[in-house]
Amino acid sequence: MQFKSDKIVALLILLPSLILVGIFVYGFIGQTVYVSLTDWGKGAALAKNPEMNLIGLKNYGELFSGFLNSRFRQDLVNAVFYTLFLVSGALGVGLILAILLDRGPKGESVFRTIFLYPMSLSFIVTGTIWRWLLAPRGGINRLPTMIGLPAIGFRWLNSRQSILNFNWQNLPQITAIVVGAAFLFIAFRQWRSGLKKKGLLSLIPTLILLLWALWGARFTPEILPTPEQHGFNLATIGIIITAIWQYSGYTMALYLAGLRGISEDLREAARLDGANQFQYYLNVAIPILKPMTMSAIIILAHISLKMFALIFAMTGPDNAETSHPAVLMYLTTFRANNFAKGAAIAVVLFVMVAVFIVPYLISAYRERRA
């Protein structure tokens, strides 16, 4: 029996926070989207009332196909690779660490502390330290000399090599092939689980996309006037290693909590079925850990899609090889005062993060309601 006046008090207590979140989150997102559609940034950009005219999607057009904005496109490619490698690396290492600690070896809490301490540090601290470790003729590269092997010659942070290059002009076709392959996979799974009719239906978009990519695209105009190569820059490997070193403790903690939640009965049952340790983890534990894997993917993807401080500390904001849209957004906005284009970069980043976060929040919401 709650009294009505108390309910009003409760809402009044919450209200300031809701208003602040409303303005600072939703209002500001709206404003950034609006700014991205203007030309704010010409002349006196920092004036009290800067000149701002709506120019539609011109900023986005320039980012994705403008002659002067090829750095943005490489940054976008970098962001995808950063995300791919950070997520898979931290998941893999974290899982191994969690399995090693699962049976409670002696000194477990010491080991846990060691694996997790990087997580408490600032990216600026870890970035500064690893920059020294990855110095071209010192640090990591000299480790093999301790056991008599020749030093490594790899230039971790300033290599100019890049692999997996592709022509940005082919991006629509590449996207079509990737999406087509995803539909093919869905069709295959539906077919196998007995939904033959649905499986066949899922094949239709695959066929359309692949047909267009391999044949029809010849007749659509190119998005860029000249071919433009982008790929995986090897100079990002050092930054990726640092990020994995820093975040694998997090996935370890997440997985360890999950492994400890598995009942002893289940483990015993697996043992009685003749499963050895390896089979137990592969066939019993890892499938149970799926929700932890999902959470970790979301959190890590979100972190690597806004990676700024680590790159800033390791290679500086001006290094185009290792750059990221988050870094370019900072340079465009606060160095070049081109607020409109900075806002457009921010919106692209936001959309990429939202693709991961929104479904996650909706499913969490459904779970709470259930």
């Binding site: 409760a10 207590i13 919450l14 602040l20 600072f24 070896p105 408490s120 020294w132 936001f350």
Partner: protein, 274 residues
């Protein structure tokens, strides 16, 4: 004694020790480099222990970073305290005074902790300038408090959800209202919740860089910005950035080592489900 060598255990322990060395290697390198004289630092002897120890790097680093250190301390302490109080009140309402649409509103609030902060940076910069808060610590603190609302509300909400409804009801029978229940039942049980939130917010604010570099003037730069400037540039003698890194890491490392358990709870709370 060694009746049967347990190979499984041997593999597990050697792997654990190997991984530990890998994780501790950077901190080892940091400490030995910070303790060397600049002339003794060379790439070829980087892994060797310092011959004669130079404590001066720390004093020198503190000379440069001291003001930044104090800025971060003021910022982190003030913003953390306000954040924790706000979070506790919000969590109390979200868990014990559910209103129609409670869950939807909560989800909308949570969204705020997952946005890349680039998306709000330009309007934030503008609004702080209009409020005359741009450049100083109060403006930065305001940002941390506002964008800390989602995570602090989440941690407290999940924490208070475990307080049984019956306790609330019996207090209401005794005539306690919104604040009475908070003071007599919720607050006395809140200590672990506050520890988790305070550690989490303090660490986050201490380590933050993007707002530090875009929203403060030189005199109000937090420690992360100071360290980035100290370590940036090409011709650095590495003992100084390493000593600076240790200085910037010191408060959060101490908190982590002493209160690791609570730090992990905050960490896991970030994954919304569960």
């Amino acid at each position: 004694m060694l009746k049967k060598l347990n190979w499984g255990k041997l593999v597990v322990y050697s792997a654990l020790v190997l991984f530990s060395l890998l994780y501790l290697m950077p901190i080892y390198m940091t400490i030995i480099t910070a303790l060397k004289h600049p002339v003794n630092i060379s790439l070829t002897t980087a892994w060797k222990l310092p011959g004669n120890i130079n404590w001066g790097s720390f004093a020198e680093a503190y000379n440069t970073l001291g003001p930044n250190f104090m800025n971060s301390l003021y910022l982190a302490v003030s913003a953390t305290v306000i954040s924790a109080i706000l979070g506790s009140l919000n969590g109390y309402v979200f868990s014990k005074w559910k209103f129609p649409g409670n869950e939807i509103v909560f989800t909308l609030v949570l969204f705020g902790m997952f946005i890349p902060y680039q998306i709000i940076l330009i309007p934030l910069f503008r609004v702080l300038r209009q409020l005359n808060l741009y450049g100083g610590i109060p403006g930065l603190a305001l940002a941390h408090i506002v964008y800390g609302i989602p995570i602090t509300s989440l941690i407290f909400r999940n924490f208070y959800a475990r307080i049984p409804e019956s306790m609330i009801e019996s207090a209401q029978m005794d005539g306690a209202g919104f604040f009475g229940i908070y003071r007599r039942i919720i607050l006395p049980l809140s200590a672990p919740g506050f520890v988790v939130v305070v550690i989490w917010q303090f660490t986050q604010i201490w380590n933050e860089f993007l707002w530090g570099i875009t929203l403060t003037r030189h005199s109000a730069n937090p420690i992360t910005v100071g360290l980035a400037q100290l370590a940036g540039g090409q011709a650095v003698s590495w003992n100084l950035p390493m000593a600076g890194s240790l200085l910037a890491a010191f408060p959060v490392l101490i908190i982590y080592i002493l209160m690791g358990r609570y730090f992990i709870r905050g960490l896991l709370a970030g994954s919304v489900k569960g």
